[in-house]
């Protein structure tokens, strides 16, 4: 029987050399043309941690961490119709082997709707997309009234996946009703959240779904031209999108008189040039026009005055990717997934100190605990869960008391965080919350475009205070000042960047206040992260005087006689931590 080998060509797996596995397979198979084994690249499977991932069809066997050296054995097994157990996924807790993807804990509680094609089809082949119902939604829509289409999207309850969660159908209606001889549809693929790669994976793994969503939107709002604004750091996504546009044009899904309906639509790609604020919609539009990507006050909203002053509908990648699914399955069926006010699924990039990092898609309303423990497989190295950061630099840090919080737009906003675009970074006891708040604020501060004073100056002042606290020079009134600054910035900044920049500081202060206090009052960093507040010490009981640490210390801070316990001079020590990694007696500790 013939077999197909699907190799993940997503960014994560390519970084783990999946293309070398591909090349080796091709090379070996060429030596044996009778084998009837075909090799194909697919998009991301989401389980990047275990990459490179290889799936053998039709047997549906899921292999992980495959290297070029495994290739000959893999081919042997396929020819014999056997399974190569050595490369199957082994559950880190139970030790059980899983043969197919569905058996793995990471996938069990997921609901893959937007990601249903990712990892299953070759994204550079439009026919594979068509064979799974692709462009059927477009066909169905072209026979309907425009208002009917908008009604369907409204009924589905779809809300924007790019951050704020604005109802998508309503947004479309605004653009449809706006006066204008020319209208645009824009897809926001700027994905600036540092710790998130959902949009990238969708574009790389299923680009036609995004194009089909934009086409349907274009028809519904009366636009004939679209733009995809892609982050410059995503070259593979841009390449796949270009191929997809060309293929769709050849098949008559894009261009003039699409499927003989009289509807015209074309799509352009714009590569971003590296500015986080360009993810904000008005800044993004300025950037497409070739200007400095600075936001402007709203209203007027893009729906009235957008690109080149024309009515423009702007949505996120994942929002558009939901649209063809909604049309295909029907709004009523779609609305059964999720909670009352948050319908459908959400894709998250699950990262940090967690066993199963990767891309996951879950129904709205699932608890954080389910995501972290059942899907994510718990905390790395059996450490203690401390917090999870959701929503990136605009979001918040949630403590263990909130693990049972349902993940939906409104519950998250209530506790001071936000859904954001979908970054979920898990932290354990070794993460310092002051340092984390500093990390995010430093990011937004650097990305502040400088147009409005509260954001430009206010975040700088907040950052200075955090730096002071982290270096042991904090004073008690600093906490009060931070709160006050945060309130002012939130209520007076021009755009979402400034308005949400204080969130990581506010939530860490709300849920981890004692950690700030320890830094200020005791001049101590409990997690052992803030360099100026920790000292490295050598336990004289454990030290055997092997001299390994002293040899490797780059600043010559360690001294001692051979076979005698050594000591570290805190004045010379730069807290680089090299000695800890070198000591094999576990004798060096943080105090």
């Amino acid at each position: 029987m013939s077999k197909t080998v699907l190799i993940c060509g997503g960014t994560g797996c390519v970084s783990s050399d999946s293309h070398k596995v591909y090349d080796r397979l091709e090379e070996e198979l060429q030596k044996d043309p009778s084998s009837r084994i075909e090799v194909k690249f697919t998009g991301c499977h989401g389980f990047c941690e275990q990459g490179p991932i290889v799936i053998v069809q039709p047997d549906n066997v899921f292999y992980c961490r495959v290297t070029t050296n495994d290739v000959p054995e893999l081919i042997e097994a396929m020819k014999k119709g056997e399974v190569l157990e050595r490369l199957l996924y082994r559950d880190p807790v139970t030790g059980e082997l899983s043969r197919s993807r569905e058996e793995i804990g990471f996938y069990k509680k997921q609901k893959r709707l937007v990601l249903e094609n990712c990892g299953e089809i070759d994204p550079e082949n439009i026919e594979e997309y068509e064979s799974r119902g692709g462009y059927e939604a477009l066909r169905a829509v072209l026979g309907k009234e425009r208002s009917e289409v908008i009604e369907e999207i409204k009924k589905s309850g779809l809300r924007g996946r790019g951050g704020a969660g604005f109802p998508t159908g309503l947004k479309w209606e605004f653009t449809a009703q706006a006066e204008g001889d020319k209208k645009y549809v824009v897809c926001n693929a700027d994905e600036g959240d540092p710790g998130a790669f959902m949009d990238r994976s969708i574009l790389e793994g299923d680009p036609h779904a995004v194009l089909e969503g934009m086409l349907i939107c274009g028809y519904a709002v009366g636009a004939d031209e679209g733009y995809v604004y892609v982050r410059a750091e995503y070259p593979l996504a841009i390449k796949r999108l270009k191929i997809a546009i060309k293929e769709a044009e050849e098949k008559g899904y894009l261009g003039d008189d699409i499927l003989n309906s009289g509807f015209n639509f074309k799509v352009n790609i714009k590569a971003g040039a590296g500015a986080f604020v360009c993810g904000e919609e008005t800044a993004l539009l300025a950037s497409i026009q070739g200007e400095r990507g600075m936001p402007r006050p709203r209203p007027p909203f893009p729906a009235e005055k957008g690109l080149w002053g024309k009515p423009t509908n702007l949505n996120n990648v994942e929002t558009y990717a939901n649209v063809p699914r909604i049309i295909r399955m029907g709004a009523d069926e779609y609305a059964k997934i999720g909670t009352e006010k948050s319908k459908g699924t959400k894709v998250f990039a699950l990262t940090g100190k967690i066993n199963n990092t990767g891309l996951v898609e879950v129904p709205m309303g699932i608890t954080m605990r389910d995501i972290i423990y059942d899907i994510g497989g718990g905390i790395l190295d059996n450490k203690e869960f401390k917090a999870v950061q959701i929503g990136g630099p605009s979001g918040g840090c949630l403590p263990s008391e909130l693990l049972d919080l349902p993940v939906d737009y409104d519950s998250l906003t209530e506790v001071g965080a936000m859904m954001g675009s979908g970054g979920l970074v898990v932290m354990d006891e070794t993460t310092c919350m002051v340092d984390l708040a500093h990390f995010f604020l430093n990011f937004t501060q650097k990305e502040s475009c400088g147009k409005c004073t509260p954001c430009r100056e206010g975040t700088k002042r907040m950052l200075e205070i955090l730096e002071r606290i982290a270096s042991g020079k904090g004073q008690e009134e600093d906490l009060e000042t931070l709160q006050r600054l945060a309130r002012v910035i939130k209520s007076t900044a021009l755009c979402g960047l400034g308005q949400t920049a204080p969130n990581p500081v506010l939530t860490t202060m709300k849920y981890f206040l004692s950690e700030y206090e320890t830094h200020i009052k005791e001049k101590r960093c409990p997690a052992g992260v803030c360099k100026e507040l920790i000292t490295y010490r050598i336990d004289p009981e454990k030290c055997t005087g092997c001299t390994l640490c002293a040899k490797h210390c780059p600043s010559g801070a360690i001294s001692g006689e051979k076979k005698e316990p050594h000591v570290i001079d805190p004045d010379k020590c730069t807290r680089c931590g090299v000695c800890i990694t070198k000591c094999n007696k576990d004798a060096i500790y943080l105090a």
Binding site: S15, E291, T357
Partner: protein, 163 residues
């Protein structure tokens, strides 16, 4: 950002006339300043002042405006860059898994700070926020290659592969 006057390397000066073709190609396209700058930078490796002048004249927009756009976006560079570009990820996932230790090791090894270029033009060091390979954190990219699951010890060896 101040514009440091730097002598154009010989090979850049030789290619400068090709900028005219790029300007010609985009002249009529609205909003084409950024793609044009991207293409010129791709051609010359960076954006020398001479090239910006050509663009300003070709598009008939003030040089100050062109310069404003160039300095707004981190992707654009006004000085010559190294043969190999190192991008160390300091995104959230990499931060919590020790990305800054990788950066510290590289700055120590190369003797340049983020944003800098080694005097022999072998390396330019940059920081980025998320390369989209968070599952392999901490991550760095050298040219088009991503290196994941890094430890500070590996840095020297990885960099020695790039001349």
């Amino acid at each position: 950002m101040a514009y440091k006057m730097v002598q154009m390397p010989e090979e850049v000066a030789q290619k400068l006339h090709l900028v005219d073709d790029i300007v010609e190609k985009y002249k009529q396209v609205p909003g084409s300043l950024i793609p044009m700058l991207q293409e010129v930078q791709e051609l010359l490796g960076y954006l020398p002042q001479e090239a910006l002048r050509k663009i300003s004249r070709g598009l008939e927009i003030p040089l100050s405006k062109v310069f404003g756009v160039v300095t707004f976006y981190t992707q654009f560079h006004t000085e010559p860059r190294g043969r190999n570009i190192i991008r160390v990820c300091l995104g959230t996932a990499c931060h919590v898994r020790g990305g800054q230790n990788i950066m510290a090791k590289i700055t120590e090894f190369l003797g340049v700070e983020p944003g800098g270029t080694t005097p022999d033009l072998r390396f330019t060091l940059e920081r980025v926020a998320c390369l989209g390979a968070c599952g392999l954190a901490p991550v760095m990219m050298v040219n088009d290659q991503t290196h994941g699951r890094l430890t500070p010890d590996q840095v020297k060896e990885v960099l020695s592969r790039y001349q």
